[in-house]
Amino acid sequence: MAAKRTRKPKLAVWKFASCDGCQLSLLDCEDELLAVTGQVDIAYFPEASREYIRGPYDLSLVEGSITTPHDAERIHKIRRQSKVLVTIGACATAGGIQALRNFGDVKEFTRLVYPSPQFIETLKKSTAIADHVFVDFELRGCPISKEQLVEVINAYLHGRKPAVPTHSVCVECKRRGTACVMVASGIPCMGPVTQAGCGALCPAYNRGCYGCFGPMETPNTPAASGAFSRLGMNEDGIIRTYRSFNAYAEAFRRESERHEPTNH
C-alpha cells in the first residue's frame, strides 16, 4: 500500500512520435479528469496547459514511439526523472502505425517524401519505449481506453494492481452479448488474438476487430490466420491484417512475416 501521502503525487505526460490521440483520451475524461486533478498535481502536460513544474515526477505517462536519435536520448532523461513510468497507446507499447517503416527501407521513404532528405535525421526503426528503458506498466490501445487510463491512475494512487485484463476481445464481445461476426457473418476478426480493452466495439457494429489493443496474452496467430484464409482472405490480406497499429508487436510481426512470399 502507498504510505499516507503528505503531498499530491506529481504527474507528467510526455510525447514522442504519435498523433496525440492517447493524450486526448486523458482530456476526454472530463468528469474523471477533474477527479484526477483533485488527486495529482499535473506537473507537465503540454497538450493541456503551459504550466511546467520541474521533476522528478511520481508518475510519468509516455505517449509515442522512438523514431529519432534525439528521442532515444530524451527517453532516458525522462526515465531518470520518473518514479513510475507508464507507456500509453500502440505507438509507445509497440512502435505504432509508423512502425510499418520497419518492414521497408526508411531512406527510400524519406527520399520519396521530402524534397531535402539530407535534413531528416531518423532511426531505421520505430520502436516501443520498453525497447529503450524500463517500463512499469504498458497500457495498450489505438487509442487507449479512457476508462483503462483512469483505472491505471486510480490503481497507482491506491497502491494496487490495475484491473486491465490481458485476455481476448472475445470475452468482452460475449459479455456484451454480441453475436460473433466470424461465426455468424463470416467476417475475419482479430478478436481472438487481440487483447481486450475496447469493449468489443467493432464486432458490436458488425465489423471484425482491427487489433487496436495488440496481441492478447497467449495469441495463437497461426490458428487465427488459418481461420481467416478459410473465410477467403488471401496471404496479402493476412499480412495487412496483422500490419496495422500494432504491426511491430512481436506476435503480430512474426505472423505477418510468416506470410511473406519469401517465407513460404
Binding site: 474523471e32 477527479a35 484526477v36 483533485g38 488527486q39 483512469v150 491512475i153 486510480n154 494512487l157 491506491h158 494496487r160 484491473a163 485484463p165 490481458t166 485476455h167 481476448s168 472475445c170 470475452v171 460475449k174 459479455r175 456484451r176 452479448g177 454480441t178 453475436a179 460473433c180 466470424m182 461465426v183 455468424a184 457473418s185 463470416g186 476478426c189 478478436g191 481472438p192 488474438v193 458488425n206 496474452e217 497467449t218 495463437n220 497461426p222 490458428a223 487465427a224 488459418g226 481461420a227 478459410r230
Partner: protein, 385 residues
C-alpha cells in the same frame, strides 16, 4: 418451484399463440422469446407473434452459423442460438455491492437491484437441463448465490420441444432432449405439430402456475392422434442429431488420458479465446473486480464472467498454473465431462452444441472426446485441422 406431474394436455391452434404471448405479458414484467438480432436468434423482448422468427432456419457447423428464411410456417423450426438462460440468471456483469468510507468506518450497500418476473417462451430441453445443472452449482452444496436465486425464482418457463435438431446437437446422447424430459422444472411445454391440415401446439403444464395459465388460453381437446404425432416426431428428431457423444466410461477415459498426445493437437488449433466457455450454458466461472473511487472514498465489487481459458484464471503466488493452451483446453473438457461429475453429481455438458458452433475455429468437443476414446470420428462437422 414444486415439481408436479403433467396434469393437463391440450391443443393450442397456431392462431392461439398470440393469446399465449398476451397472457404471459399480463402476468409478467417482461416476456422474452426467440428473435433475430445481429444475424442470430437470441432471447429478446417479444410482444407479438410477428416478433418470432417464423420460418427462419438456422444452419450450424463448427465455427459457422447462418440464418435463412425458409418456406415453412413453423414458429420454432430452429434450435438454440448463442444466448442461453445463463445470461438471464447469471448476468455477464453485475455490481454486487459498494462500500462507502467515513473515517475508519465503512458502510456496505447491496447493489443488486430486485428483478421482475420474467416469462421465457421457447426454452429448449437442453436449456432446461442446463438450468438444472446451474441450480446445483449456484443453489446446491449449502452455498446459495442470492443473485442467482432471486432471478431464478422469478422465471416462468414455456418450453418448446426440438423436432428439427441442428448439425451441432447431441442432446440425445446426453439424455437431455429432444423432448422435454427431466431437467429443471418448467411451467408449460409446447410441441409444434404441422400436418394433416392443421398447425398448432400440443400444450402440457408442468407446474401449478402453468396449469393456471392454461386455463386462460383458447385451448382445444387434444386427441390421441396428437400425442402419437408428438412421439413420432420426437423419435425422428432423436435420430437426426448432427452429433453423438458416447458417455459410457467417459469420466475414466478423460482421467486416464491426461497425457494423451491429442491435447497438443487441439492446442495447435485452439485460440484460447474463451468463446466456448462464454456460450456454454453451464460454465459458471467468474472473476470479481474492485472499482475504487479516485479519492478512495468508496469502492464497488463487480462480478464478471471469467473462463479457464484466460491466463489470469489460475494466477496464484508464484505465477500462472495453466500456462499452456493445452492445459487450459484439457481443463475445460475434463471439467465438463469428468470432474464435474465428482463435483456436482452430474455431467457438465447438456449436448447443446454451442461450443462447437461458436468456436471461431470449430473445435468440437464430441470429436475430441471420440479421439480420446479411440473411436473413428463420424461427425458431419467441417474439420479444421
Amino acid at each position: 418451484m414444486t415439481r408436479i406431474k403433467d396434469i393437463a394436455t391440450a391443443y393450442l391452434p397456431a392462431e392461439g399463440l398470440q393469446a399465449l404471448i398476451d397472457t404471459l405479458r399480463q402476468h409478467h414484467d417482461r416476456v422474452l422469446g426467440p428473435r433475430v438480432r445481429e444475424q442470430a436468434i437470441r432471447y429478446e423482448t417479444i410482444s407479438s407473434v410477428a416478433d418470432l422468427p417464423r420460418g427462419v432456419k438456422d444452419e450450424h457447423e463448427g465455427g459457422r452459423y447462418r440464418l435463412h428464411q425458409g418456406e415453412e410456417a413453423t414458429f420454432f423450426g430452429f434450435v438454440v442460438g448463442p444466448d442461453s438462460l445463463k445470461s438471464i440468471v447469471y448476468p455477464p456483469r453485475l455490481t454486487l455491492w459498494s462500500m462507502k468510507r467515513s473515517g475508519h468506518e465503512g458502510t456496505i450497500e447491496d447493489q443488486d437491484e430486485p428483478v421482475g418476473s420474467t416469462a421465457i417462451l421457447g426454452v429448449r430441453p437442453c436449456e432446461l437441463a442446463a438450468l438444472a445443472v446451474q441450480d446445483k452449482v449456484f443453489l446446491g452444496h449449502g452455498f446459495e448465490d442470492p443473485h442467482y436465486r432471486q432471478r431464478r425464482e422469478r422465471l416462468f418457463l414455456v418450453a418448446v420441444e426440438c423436432l428439427q435438431p441442428g448439425a451441432h446437437c447431441f442432446c440425445d446422447s446426453m439424455g437431455t432432449g429432444p423432448g422435454v424430459n427431466g431437467g429443471a422444472s418448467w411451467d408449460l411445454a409446447l410441441t409444434e405439430l404441422v400436418g394433416d391440415g392443421r398447425h398448432g401446439f400440443l400444450v402440457r403444464a408442468g407446474s401449478d402456475a402453468g396449469r393456471e395459465m392454461m386455463a386462460k388460453l383458447p385451448l382445444e381437446q387434444a386427441g390421441d392422434g396428437l400425442e402419437k404425432a408428438r412421439e413420432t416426431a420426437l423419435a425422428a428428431a432423436a435420430k437426426s442429431m448432427g452429433r453423438t457423444l458416447d458417455t459410457d466410461g467417459l469420466k475414466k477415459t478423460l482421467y486416464d488420458h491426461v497425457d494423451h498426445p491429442h491435447w497438443e493437437k487441439v492446442a495447435d488449433r485452439c485460440l484460447a479465446c474463451a468463446n466456448c466457455t462464454m456460450v456454454c450454458p453451464t460454465c459458471f466461472c467468474s472473476n470479481t473486480m474492485e472499482e475504487t473511487a479516485l479519492d478512495g472514498s468508496s469502492a464497488a465489487r463487480t462480478r464478471v464472467w471469467d473462463s479457464c481459458f484466460n491466463l489470469d484464471f489460475t494466477y496464484i503466488h508464484g505465477g500462472h498454473v495453466r500456462r499452456s493452451v493445452k492445459s487450459r483446453y484439457r481443463q475445460w473438457m475434463t471439467h465438463k465431462l469428468a470432474s464435474w461429475q465428482d463435483q456436482f453429481g452430474v455431467i457438465g455438458c447438456v449436448g447443446c452444441g454451442r461450443c462447437i458452433t461458436w468456436c471461431p475455429v470449430g473445435i468440437d468437443i464430441t470429436r475430441e472426446a471420440a479421439v480420446l476414446q479411440g473411436k473413428p470420428t463420424k461427425t458431419s462437422g467441417r474439420t479444421t485441422s
